[in-house]
Amino acid sequence: MKIAVLSTFVPFYRGGAEILADSVTERLMQAGHDARQFRLPFAWDPPERVVESLLAFRMLDLDAYDRVVAFKFPAYCVEHHNKVIWLFHQFRQAYDLWGTPYQHLPSGDEGARIRRSVIAADSACLVPAPRLYCNSEVTAARLETFNGRGAEVLYAPLVNPEVFHAGEYGDYIVCTSRISGGKRQLLLVDAMTHVRSNVRLVLAGMPETSAELERLMQRIDALGLRDRVHVDPRFISEEEKADLVAHALAVAYIPVDEDSYGFVTLEAYHARRPVLTCSDSGGVLKLVVDGESGYVAEPDAQSIARGIDHLAASRNRLAQMGEAGLARATALDIGWPAVIGKLLA
């Protein structure tokens, strides 16, 4: 089959969704199909560009392809007779972010009109789509709430799960997500002031902004934690990440209300590491079960510190917890065979 994998992208930026789209294309080709990826921009600033981008995708011609796979708004609005949508993102500004400071659409008639256009497009393209999957329960719940359409959840696997391997359990907790307010590395740093065990914290990842990094480093200095918290603020290659995770005591991943379990969680389990998370981390709790595959703390420094100490004292159970996490992921069919199977069905 000739398959077009259609993504939106921001030129010169590469995030998880972009990496996943690349992987989908590659996996489809490995499955023997002629798959090509088309990445075209979606601009929403200024907001009038939302309609322009939507129109542009609507005008695309993919007739030469037997199937189209699309992930995000407005790419899934492309016209094609045989489309499968694996929904990563709707345009949330028109839905759960509408009426909040993160709305990003102008108040008044203009914003309302753009919002109506987005909802109308989703009603026309998402709601009746015969093959529609969501990447998480959170995405599916939003789709149900705002668009009245239910959809099966198709979990996103790691791009290269085989890279992650299990090593000795070392003396550090590692967090490999990008450094940003939403990922709460600051809270981890605060927790370290309460940790009693002889455990270090390693934070490795690209800072979202230089201001975020500045804030983090200032906090570390202010708390006198230079010798216990190590920061590597850069893009970390898969191999470097795999190595860091392979020798960690555990992986910490405490984002606020995440849509999905996160690749960080899966990477940890593929490396047989338990995961430390928080009760308000959203989709992460799909995989992390307190006491079974990790530790679920309350979102405050003391509780997180107790979690770190607990894991440090549970060395005999770390592998078991890591295995339990991987088994849970397997049971949920998180893997490329499931993804390719659904996208080709």
Binding site: K2, A4, V10, P11, F12, D34, R36, F38, R39, L40, P41, F42, A43, D45, R49, E52, S53, L55, A56, F57, M59, L60, D61, L62, D63, A64, Y65
Partner: protein, 179 residues
């Protein structure tokens, strides 16, 4: 510089435009630039106007420092700093729905931003209406169009390789000089 290199992919087939774009991209990376290769899916069963429509609407002008476009319809992508290279004149001159001269007002409309055009041969320039005197009544192209005399790139890989090598050295150097 961050450069978007755009080309068309016709009817699901990767052709000379894709190879040419990849070659340009490699050379530009070697020269220290960051590149995004962008393929526009195009169906030759559609009229040139339909082929162009998505390109005309795409918001590329929000991104990157420059846009290099190969041929039609990539040449219609909007950007404040465009470098366009025509290595062939398709569909103009072949498709009766794409008449000579139709492209020029679209390329030079309002003369927005920084635009330079290279055309591989006189014949291509003629078909595209990019010769200064070829189309009556349209604004002159002036110094914005250069016919570089480079032989037209063919789909034959054997012919393509040496020409691409020349393109890597000559054309990208030309783009670099105008960065």
């Amino acid at each position: 510089m961050r450069i978007i290199v755009a080309f068309a992919e016709h009817d699901g087939q990767s052709g000379a435009d894709a190879r040419c774009a990849a070659a340009l991209g490699e050379r530009a990376v070697a020269a220290g630039h960051r590149i995004e290769l962008v393929a526009l899916p195009v169906s030759s069963s559609k009229s040139p106007q339909q082929q162009a429509l998505a390109a005309q609407l795409m918001p590329f002008d929000a991104y990157g420092d420059a846009l290099w476009a190969l041929n039609f319809p990539a040449c219609l992508l909007r950007h404040r700093r465009r470098r366009i290279w025509f290595t062939h004149s398709r569909p103009f001159g072949i498709d009766p729905r794409a008449p000579a001269g139709a492209l020029r007002p679209l390329l030079f409309n309002g003369r927005d931003g920084d635009l330079e055009v290279r055309v591989a041969s006189d014949a291509i320039a003629e078909t595209l209406g990019l010769k200064p005197e070829s189309i009556r009544g349209l604004p002159p192209v002036g110094e914005h169009v250069i016919v570089d005399g480079m032989a037209m790139l063919d789909d034959d890989p054997a012919l393509l390789a040496p020409e691409l090598e020349r393109a890597r050295n000559d054309l990208v150097a030309w783009f670099d000089a105008r960065a």
